[in-house]
């Protein structure tokens, strides 16, 4: 008797616990949006989503936000399960893998129908999201690399202004290196270091993208120079081994002369380094004006059930009004020309140093590099970068390292052919 009631109770309990938290019944239209680690914008998004819902009655918006390393795992699982979020905010080159696998909706037809949308954006940034002639993302927010200068250290070393050439870059670094102080640091994730190579004429791949093209005498000499400067302290070792916190933290401690990073670093460094103000920090372009972008864009998943509505949504989120509001709350460039102009103007009055940093982001956008629309970008990084590390840290001879890297890259490209 007792056992039966226990069993019945257990079954009832199981049933209750198994019920999903949200109603299975589909509302008229539901959009799910997956963003990349911007949970701090909850206030702004609540307002903006409200506006969108007012303009499109009957629509529900589900907002998901995942931190960078978690987002791909979550997104891919959802794709396999057939329930991908309609809109996804993607950082860097990950979008190409999804696009190449047919996971994203081609936005070109939409843009052709509404040419005004494309005109909103800085064309150089927008073109960063073209794969095989098709556009897949609209810009959400963008950043590219620049050169931060520790003016105090420059003065101590008797240097006038930012370096104007690669030789000066190395020379200044070596001059500023003394004891615990080093001259130069760069971030190295996602090809952010590539402008240093590009400015010296190094090409990664042949024009048809089928073979490695970097194994040249010139590159070997370049690596040798890096190695020499790293060994003597001109270039801080963390440039080659650090991720995000170490290089930015090192610069924030005030012991590094120059930091080659993107605009997001400014806010982190400023938080960590109380010495930073307009007199002590300078923002400049790298000599030669090359830079690598780290961008976020909105894409529509192929599995979306409401692609047209999703298009309306990303159009709305990147409109002048929304982009402007986003710029103001996050102090980041949106690639929406009007919003950026307005945002910079107002930032100039409140925080001129931040404005100077962001100003570099809209200059020289024709010289973007390190942003190849290749679906095997991650594999390419894995084949190339470790060997470069070996060379500049003095663990391998540059020629050997380049040969090994070339072999690895060619093998990767051959497999993809």
């Amino acid at each position: 008797m007792k056992r039966r009631t226990v069993v019945k109770g257990a079954l009832a309990g199981t049933g209750m616990l198994a019920a999903p938290a949200y109603l299975r019944a589909q509302s008229a239209k539901k959009l799910s949006v997956l963003t990349w680690n911007i949970a701090d914008q909850a206030e702004l998004f609540k307002v903006e989503f409200g506006e969108f819902k007012a303009a499109h009655p009957g629509v529900e918006i589900e907002w998901l936000d995942k931190k960078g390393p978690d987002l791909p795992a979550f997104y891919q699982t959802q794709i396999v399960a057939g329930t991908p979020p309609d809109i996804v905010d993607i950082q860097g080159a990950l979008w190409v893998e999804y696009a190449a696998n047919g996971g994203l909706v081609d936005l070109t037809p939409y843009l052709q129908k509404e040419p005004d949308v494309a005109k909103r954006f800085n064309p150089d940034y927008l073109n960063g999201w073209v794969y095989k002639g098709k556009t897949y993302l609209l810009p959400f927010y963008v950043a590219k690399t620049l050169l931060y200068c520790n003016k105090t250290m420059f003065k101590e070393a008797g240097l006038a202004g930012p370096p104007q050439s690669f030789d000066e870059l190395i020379g200044f670094s070596d001059k500023m290196a003394k004891g615990e102080k080093t001259g130069f640091l760069t971030l190295n994730f996602d090809w952010l270091y590539w402008p240093l190579f590009k400015m010296n004429g190094v090409e990664l791949l042949s024009p048809d993208g089928k073979k490695a093209a970097f194994n040249t005498q010139a590159t070997a000499e370049l690596l040798a120079r890096f190695a020499k400067s790293t060994a003597s302290g001109g270039i801080n070792k963390i440039a080659w081994t650090g991720r995000w916190v170490e290089p930015n933290g090192a610069f924030a401690s005030g012991t590094v002369g120059m930091l080659h990073a993107h605009s997001a670093s400014y806010f982190f460094v400023k938080g960590q380094g109380p010495w930073i103000n307009a007199d002590t920090l300078g923002a400049a372009q790298l000599p030669g004006f090359w830079s690598t972008p780290t961008n976020h864009g909105f894409a529509i998943s192929k599995g979306s059930k409401n692609p047209d509505l999703a298009w309306e949504f990303i159009k709305f989120m990147t409109s002048d009004k929304s982009a402007s509001a986003f710029f103001k709350t996050r102090s980041v460039l949106t690639a929406n020309v009007a919003a950026d102009k307005e945002g910079l103007a107002s930032l100039q009055k409140t925080e001129p140093l931040a404005a100077a940093v962001l100003q570099t982001q809209i200059e020289h956008t024709d010289k973007l590099t390190g942003n190849w629309p290749l679906p095997y970008d991650a594999g390419l990084k894995d084949a190339f970068w470790p060997e470069i590390q070996n060379a500049v840290l003095g663990r391998k001879e540059p020629k050997q390292a380049l040969a090994d890297a070339e072999r690895a890259v060619n093998r990767l490209l051959a497999r993809k052919a």
Binding site: A21, I38, D70, F74, V80, F268
Partner: protein, 270 residues
């Protein structure tokens, strides 16, 4: 009994305790003072102490909701573990055809790393209709092989005479488990409870993949909120870690008494 000096033991244990506690001290210190751990030189004693980070954590995320989710999920996992593992452990104390195969299967199942099972596990849970639910979150953790063997070892130590007497008295196998074995296996139960709780409480990747609605998220997922965009490790982050840690630790403190009691009674029964 043996006369041996106690103080070297105390010394060694104090040193070890120190080593174990130093990182903790730092987590605790930062959580109440909010000092930047990237400041140099590191300060041993915090300058200003205030509990506001704990308050921050409570309001920054829907803490109460996440806490409830975590409690429910862990409760299910612990209950499942105790019941299912005891049953399986008991079965393994008998010899039967295919026992070797089952033991081998269990051992091999331990060798499967979770990261490699994410997608199939998600698809299966979807098929079962358990996505975004408490049961779905708890199910993969409702039985663990290690704990099965803990029960088995404990049951093995119960003298045959007791079991035979129970059988003669007409008790069914099921009742033998609950009325004979379990009362004598308090330490195994305590171990099961502690471990099952800790594993399900701290589980991060599975709830991350499994839950869509914010309402169903468990406590560790709130962590992402504090690992901000710029990886600023702040007092709030450490306060959060302490708050997540507290229940597991409390449970251990409580269950460890049972652990001790169960052991002394076991020695007496001889």
């Amino acid at each position: 009994m043996n006369r041996y000096p106690r103080w070297p033991i105390h010394l060694a244990l104090v040193v070890v305790s120190g080593v174990m506690l130093v990182p903790f001290y730092w987590v605790l210190k930062t959580s109440v003072s909010g000092e930047n751990i990237y400041a140099y030189p590191p300060s041993i004693v915090p300058a200003r102490i205030h509990p506001f980070f704990y308050v921050d954590v409570w309001y920054a995320i829907p803490f109460a909701r996440y806490l409830m989710n975590s409690v429910v999920v862990s409760a299910i996992a612990v209950a499942g573990n105790v019941v299912f593992n005891a049953m399986a452990g008991y079965a393994l104390t008998h010899g039967f055809r295919g026992k070797g195969f089952v033991v081998l299967l269990f051992l091999t199942c331990m060798m499967v790393p979770f990261q490699a099972t994410i997608i199939p596990a998600y698809l299966i849970t979807g098929r079962l209709g358990l996505l975004d639910s408490w049961l779905g979150l708890a199910l993969p953790q409702c039985s663990t092989i290690i704990c099965i063997f803990v029960f088995k070892a404990s049951f093995d130590a119960v003298p045959r005479s007791l079991i035979d007497a129970a059988r003669i008295d007409g008790l069914s196998e099921w009742r033998i488990i609950w009325h004979v074995m379990m009362p004598l296996s308090k330490s195994a139960i305590a171990t099961n409870v502690i471990l099952a709780f800790i594993w399900s409480w701290n589980n991060f990747l599975w709830p991350l993949i499994m839950t869509r609605t914010a309402d169903m998220q468990t406590l560790p997922l709130g962590l992402a909120r504090f690992l901000s965009y710029q990886e600023d490790t702040t007092g709030a982050l450490y306060a959060f870690c302490i708050m997540v840690l507290a229940p597991g630790l409390l449970l251990f403190l409580m269950a460890q008494k049972e652990f001790m009691r169960g052991l002394t009674s076991g020695a007496v029964k001889g």
